[in-house]
């Protein structure tokens, strides 16, 4: 019994001591990672060029993007929403609430776009590697709204 008590006490001392070490050694890395998050990028880099982030990019939450896109749609602009994210989430949700009955002609992936897309905007979701060749003729990169979401805008005529 005495051995078990000694063992228990040793484990207790080890637990508290190591917890203190873990806490102290974690403080710098946690402080550093929290500080990094204080400076959200307002510009994105693409092929060495800095693009101003789209309006929603300052806080690129999906619903923030929806708010932004809704205003655009309200002005008569149209969107093509690409990628699995659209199929798995937002597109079905929007359809359910009939926010975008016709404007969203999504469910295409880049490279599988209909010929000569006519939408004012193309949102390429889940496209972490976007190259110039991926951008359809007549469009230019406008910015990105998330780590892997790019927004293309139809060139002005």
């Amino acid at each position: 019994m005495e051995i078990l008590t000694k063992l228990r006490n040793a484990a207790a001392v080890m637990l508290v001591s190591l917890a203190a070490v873990l806490a102290v050694t974690s403080i710098p890395s946690t402080a550093s990672s929290l500080s990094e998050r204080r400076s959200p990028a307002t510009y994105v880099t693409y092929n060495g060029r800095a693009f101003p982030a789209v309006k929603c990019d300052r806080a690129p939450g999906v619903y923030r993007f929806i708010d932004w896109a809704k205003r655009r749609v309200g002005r008569g602009e149209s969107f093509i929403w690409l990628g699995c994210g659209a199929e798995r989430g937002a597109l079905r949700y929007w359809a359910a609430f009939q926010m975008y009955p016709a404007e969203l002609t999504g469910r295409y992936l880049l490279g599988q776009l209909p010929p000569n897309p006519s939408a004012d905007w193309i949102l390429a979701w889940d496209t972490s590697q976007l190259t110039a060749a991926d951008i359809p003729s007549g469009y230019q990169l406008n910015g990105r709204y998330s780590e892997n979401g790019f927004l293309l805008r139809k060139n002005a005529r």
Binding site: L15, L34, R38, G61
Partner: protein, 461 residues
Amino acid sequence: MRAEASLALLVAVIGCSGVGMLVGIGIRPRARLAWAGVVGLGYLVGLGILIVLAQLAIVLQIPFLTALALTTALGVIGAISAARQLPPKKQLRPAWDSLDRAGLVLLSVVVLLLLLLGSVAAWVHPLLDWDAWAIWTMKAVMINQSGGVPSEIFTNRWYSFMHPDYPIGIPALEAIYFRLAGSEETTHMHVLTWLILPAAGSGLALLADERLPAKVWGPIIAALIVVPTVVTQALTAYVDVPVALMLSAGLLAGANWLESKRLNSLIVCAALIAGAACMKNEGMTTGLLLFASLSLLGWRQWKQLALGWAIVLLAVVPWRLFLSLNSITGDLSPSRLIDTNYLSAHFGRATGGLTGLLSQAFSLQGQSPAQDLIVGAILVSAAAVVILSLSDRVAVFALLVILASLLAITSAYLVSYPVSLSGRIASSAPRVVLTPVMLLMLGAMLQLRRRSSPAQSISEQ
């Protein structure tokens, strides 16, 4: 501007209401320092009660903002009741030794770091991670727009990815914020769930201080809330960290009740468990098993327990009835747990899931190899302390709760066929393992050196 003001208002209402409820049930420390703990615990309790009432309001199809009014009313009633009571007796307060002071300073630094720097980070951190926007916030938008749960969407098989059967406490909280803000503004919203982390730091300290000196609880609680994996996850607005913290605080409050049999400890425990039960199914299962363990060990106080069960079941029964009446189902089939044919064919998923979970516990994501080694040694030490203390009733309680959390998670792995087990573990284990890890560390902490009498408590109760 309205969104920012609404967020500040909601945080203040949750915190003040929780503090009002706590002082109303007699948790009124004399020391100023201990009030930081009351504020932290108050935020957890206030948030727990708010989401229980909001979920209930939605189930009963009454305006969900009623929950905010009721929570505020409970806080005000508590504060008025406390003002009419005599002040608590002052007890002798022996001087703290240098290790006690070091423990307190360490935890204070961590809590302030999370509160100040972390809140700013949460303020600007975008809502990008899947569960946060595709499950919780999507439901919140639906609740905000429809005023309730639109069953035509919750029963639509295309929406099964958003776990329609999960409790709606967090979506209801977000919907309350949307309604106050006047728009579905998600930019700063997850400050609400982020604040659970620093609040838990001081709240856990208040609960632990009833039994233990600061030299024990300071380092352990600080380590729990400052490791990068916990901080990173808390910023994503996933609810795994909030569930783990609510259950952890519930464990400490339950242990306090087992020793003191004071009703206020049991009410705090029940409120925290009810809050966890409204956040996620794992929180519901583990919370119910935690309270069942507490009832088993303290059954002689059945009248107090009946009140506690009433609070806990308020968070569970109406929602489960609502799901049943509206034919809303999830992607998991709990009935498989009693299907002997299924169990005999797939029991390997339980053992495989448990192995995957334990291996994850020893390699918490986002840490250096040296920190992984330290975490491994801490977990082995903590397990040894709990197992070697089983002659103590509180140790038995802690062990039952730890096993309950492992059971809840491995059961989910077991019944999730045909989803790939390895895929399921990869996507969930780094998050869900936090609950058993935190419960193990706090369960072991409860067995460490007891405070000598007279109480050397920061609360001087």
